[in-house]
Amino acid sequence: MTDQPASHSVAQDLLSHLHVIDVSTPIARDCARFLASLGARVTRLEREALSADPDSLRDQVAKADILVESFMPGDMAAMGLGYEALSQVNPGLIQVSITPFGQSGPYARYKGGELVAAALAGTLYQMGEKDGSPVREPGDANFFHACGAGAAGAMLAEFARRKTGRGQLVDIAAQEMGAGRATVALVKHMLGDTVPGRNGQAIDMGNGPSRVLWPLKDALAFYMEGKPGTPPAEQMDDWIEEETGKRPAPSHDMDTVAAFLASMTEEEAIAKTRARKIRLMSVSSPQDVAEDVQLAARGFFTQGESGKQPGYFIKAIARDEA
């Protein structure tokens, strides 16, 4: 990329004209964080301040473009701060509501954090050992996904507002975000195929389970098992033959591949698979993430009050004019 013209980041310009009020609870805070990373001016109000003085929010939204909130549906209205009431103060107000199940419907008033939302989304069932219990994904995975959708929804509403002059409520449900990830599985179910369940260290994209996690000498690696006779399997067969003088028989023999990979260090395996365009990648520990060379090269981390922390979510680059 060295021959490319010089460029500069414009990420902070994208939303610099937008003022966001963030009253979200911690599980939905990434929505306003993301908008702020694109230059939006974000004012945070804590829930306690809201309950103590509801007028403070009315005053704030009168001057704001976007409100992000994640209270139980109905709770804001009970404080006199429902979308109807706030849009009377500011008809152009865009409200992004991020909740486990959405603003209406039979589960709208159901309580749920990430675990319960993941359960009803169907994502929880899909991870874990084949014969063991389901296990949730790390962190607030579905709510984070919902925060991304909330930001996109805020911008869609901003585009609609330019045409109509009016804001609207953007209703995001963590359950629906998770359920939406099941595209392949739900298609299989609708057509009467068996839906692959959780599969431990293998995944099944429709053509049977493929093992994806393999121990190296000093690390764990992601590498998707090649099916015998396919180009990916032959790439692995070629590599093993070149290194050991012996071609696996049958093609991509699982024990041979496992023993071979276990003899490789992380450094060797990554360099050699890169040259061969084999999709193998070592699994990062927390330390590895913090020291990741790619993230460092891209300037991803910043130094905050509490030490190293992620900076941008996405980059936006403009070319310097000559």
């Binding site: 159901y110 359960a119 899909q126 790390p138 996109a152 045409k163 939406g180 179910h189 839906v195 070592s282």
Partner: protein, 409 residues
Amino acid sequence: MSDTRPLAGIRIVDFSWAIVGNTTTKLLGDFGAEVWKIESYSRPSMERSRDIVKNDDPASFDNKQWFAQIATSKKSLTPELKDSRGRKFIEDLIREADVVVENFSPGTITRMGFGYDRLRELNPGIILASGSIFGQSGPMSSFPGVDATGAARSGRIAASGHPDGREVLPGLTYGDSVLPFFLVTGILGALDRRERTGEGCWIDGAMQEVLVQQMWPLVSDALSGKPENFRTGNRHPDAAPHNIYPARGEDRWIAIEVWNEPEFAALCKAIGRPELAGDAKFATLAARKRNEDALDAIIAEWTLDKDADASMELLQGAGVAAGTVRTVPEIVDHDPQLKHRGFLEEITHPVIGTFGHQRTPIGMGEGMQRMVHAPLMGHDNREVCKSVLGMDDAMFDALAADGVFGKQR
């Protein structure tokens, strides 16, 4: 009737060939943008060619359910890149477009002749949105990868599984599904900025980075001396009980979360054990964390012989967060909340028939979102040549007869 959707009038050249790009442009199309999907018979979109269900016809590009889900609200164009007239057709579209979307390995779009600098020559205000695993710069940029590659380098795989078990992977995509919403926000922000400044830009979305944003609270805890907070399985360092429990039937489970003392008292009462709330072993969060195995066993004893949905309704009625661990068949056929939200909307595809299509999961007012069935291969070549590029039928027919738009295999 005029199109009331927010993105009506915005035009997208779509080079997507896998989940990240295709989900991004589905969203843009569902909300009103005109999406010109550039495909070819020689290199079709991944979802068009993979037979994921046994009754797909491998000889056809037009009967793939996966593609039907992920390519709603797009137009299909099939110019041959090897033909200079096919390339000119794409260049002419780029001149008319607002945004180009692609998700190739970094460097590929430039080698194809449609890199950002070439796009700017064709259309100075163009916005390019690129989705990739590692981003467009840096030492690992060109590494080949998939959804799990990004997960591997974010801490996500290392944090997945039970604390006393092996690392596991989810049977569903995550990074592939999440990145599109960040790309869309960037694209719309870039359009907004272009209106103010007249200048386009290049949106560079890296799956690894978005996933590290998601994982950072856990990574940061682990680095600051709380490694027990990294791989917690179904438990949570700040809540107890917080787990799944067996329910009646094979492989049936219910999730329960308790975040404060009133919720714990409500749970104890609901399961017929009100005395537990005052028991020194469980009376505070710290005590419950110390005795979590014993507490989980007591709850499991109650859930074990009960229907999961019945327990969920009873506990939710008592003010306790609880949810059945749903299977995929249940989210399609049974879950009343997803039905209420219109998670799947029946529309008719000319080859596959009428079936539930996944809407883009952003709830907005009437008239904001509408799905049109996924296009048949090459369906819109003639219409786009005429309406966008001003050709007449004879001009189009001459190009088509020469194979500029490819041939059915």
